[in-house]
Amino acid sequence: MIVYWQTLSVLLLLASAAVLLVRGHASRRLAGIAIVLLLAFLPLGDTNAWLWLKGLVGSLSVVSAALLANYLITSLTGRVLVDKPSRKALYTVVLLAGLLLYPATLGLSLYDPYRLGYGLVVALAVLAVALAAWFCGRQAAAVVLAVVVLADQAGVSASVNTWDYLVDPLVWLVSPVMLVRLHLRA
């Protein structure tokens, strides 16, 4: 399962990059995805872009995967699975989670909140936020957050830490930009 999740992570990243670069009809975008994937497997010395990206990124968080999948589906079919209020909620959650987590991980703080993710605290907090999101009308965000804990329990990634299913550096880095965009487009 770990290998599948890693593969899905890289696939979502490359496909999203292709869709971002290629505008127009869905068929053009699909062609762009195919070309990007082909290029990803072209040899670069003893490696290729696919393996390089896998080495860099490893596994995405569930929130990342859900937002990227939504972006792809919306771009290709026009259908929106994660509506705007839910996307705002998710980006807000990952922005706050990352602010708590990453400076400490990089040694900028003496306290290590990552450790909490090995126990119940983070999982229960995520479920509580999921419940709150549901009753605030952000059902899609609520489902994504529930899947965070479900995926953690199922062990789809090599990590057994709930934080790794909730947030990753990529989604954290884009979250402030995305929140500004979503607010401006309100």
């Binding site: 290998v3 890693q6 003893d46 490696t47 393996l51 390089w52 896998k54 080495g55 860099l56 990124v57 490893g58 987590l101 990453y102 991980t105 990089l106 040694g107 900028l108 003496l110 290590d112 990552y114 450790r115 993710g117 090995y118 126990g119 119940l120 999982a123 229960l124 479920l127 999921a130 419940l131 549901w134 009753f135 059902q139 609520a142 489902v143 529930a146 804990v149 479900l150 953690d152 329990q153 990634s157 090599a158 990590s159 057994v160 830490n161 934080w163 790794d164 947030v167 990753d168 550096p169």
Partner: protein, 384 residues
């Protein structure tokens, strides 16, 4: 009506997930009692003994570094190190050699895993291999933890693990250990791993991307990190090595990357669950790795006894739980190589065997792995 029903279903799902998380929570079940270090009958008529040599005279690679040791089930000693054209080059692989029980000579080095084999095993790009440590359960099962980078320098390393069921003859496919949330980078190994009584592994590690600190990981036998404890609360201590003492106490010595240029140390009285603040020893440290092992009623440390360079190496003893250390033997003196550069003796790794012998390996001028073996009687004589 349907909306209410959906809300009820979702709420029930959340509650079930919460219960599942609660039932799967093992964090309180982890024991902080480690498996006590070997105790052995001490022969009071034991004669002092020290032997010095090298794991190999001429290696298969131009450069070698960072050796580690483990005692296997049959009493033989395995050493691992990394070697290649130079540190960090693409051709660096992990190598191993065996000193059979009772033998004087090490077996010819054999390659354990190459960079490309690791890349193929993990299915990802690997840039270079680095430090490795070994852990034996004394019953033929052997764990190898080693670092690699995919992008960037050593500060972006991640830890990999391979397991052998036959004392290192064959190995499992490598797996990646997830120890950090930031792209899983910057966790490295150097110090002795050990077992806790619940079967999990204590793995001393360190982080050096931006801030530097030491940690103790709790890893299960399959490589999943179950918990971690940050050991240090400064930003200049890395490469912890831990001596297991009596009554579930531990003592760690650490490399000092800061300005004070002395070996750092700290202790734990609860099996690594909590750690004292770091304090500075009186021993110099030129920003280099140190190693420590428990010695009957004391601790022995091997270190570079210079605050500037790694051209000297010594053995020190503490008989008062680290309050003071005394140099008892000069392992290497300073010198110059043929190019006029100072010699380098570095990355010592010291173990105590079940029979009470000590084995020390260290990088010798980046060309060989030096091996020193001694016993309690010899330490006792040096300490007089």
């Amino acid at each position: 009506m349907q909306k209410h029903l959906t809300s009820i279903v979702f709420t029930v799902l959340i509650v079930l997930l919460g219960l599942s998380a609660w039932m799967g929570d093992y964090s309180d079940a982890l024991s902080w009692r480690f498996v006590a270090p070997y105790t052995s009958y001490v022969d009071h008529l034991q004669k002092p003994r020290i032997t010095r040599g090298y794991v190999f005279e001429e290696g298969q690679t131009a450069s070698v570094h960072a050796p580690a040791l483990a005692e296997l089930s049959d009493g033989s000693i395995m050493s691992v190190w990394y070697g290649g054209t130079r540190e960090g080059s693409a051709d660096v692989s992990l190598y191993a050699s065996l000193l059979a029980a009772g033998d004087d000579a090490w077996s010819p080095p054999r390659e354990l895993i190459s960079r490309q084999e690791l890349a193929d095993g993990l299915g990802m790009h690997i840039r270079k291999l680095g430090n490795a440590v070994l852990l034996s359960d004394g019953e033929q099962k052997l764990w190898l933890f080693f670092v690699s980078t995919s992008v960037g320098g050593w500060s972006t390393s991640a830890i990999n693990m391979m397991v052998s069921q036959d004392d290192g003859r064959t190995w499992s496919r490598p797996v990646r250990i997830v120890a950090s949330p930031f792209l899983n980078v910057s966790t490295l190994v150097k110090g002795h791993p050990f077992f806790y009584q619940d079967g999990t592994i204590g793995l001393p590690v360190y982080h050096e991307l931006m801030g530097k600190y030491a940690e103790l990981l709790r890893v299960d036998s399959n490589g999943a990190v179950l918990d971690k404890q940050r050991m240090t609360h400064r930003r200049d201590a890395i490469q912890p090595d831990i001596a297991l003492l009596e009554n579930n106490r531990m003592h760690a010595v650490l490399r000092n990357t800061g300005a004070s240029r002395v070996v750092l140390q700290q202790s734990s009285s609860d099996g690594g669950k909590t750690w004292s603040l770091l304090n500075e020893t009186s021993l110099p440290n030129p920003d280099a790795a140190v190693t420590v092992a428990s010695v009957r009623n004391a601790m022995a440390m091997v270190y570079n006894d210079s605050s500037d360079d790694r051209d000297r190496m010594a053995l020190a003893l503490s008989t008062n739980r680290g309050k003071s250390w005394r140099k008892i033997y000069q392992l290497e003196q300073g010198g110059m190589d043929e190019d006029g550069n100072k010699d380098e003796f570095s990355y010592p790794y010291l173990i105590r065997t079940r029979k009470g012998d000590y084995h020390l390996v260290y990088t010798w001028k980046r060309r060989r792995i030096a091996h020193v073996s001694f016993n309690d009687a010899w330490i006792g004589r040096q300490a007089q």
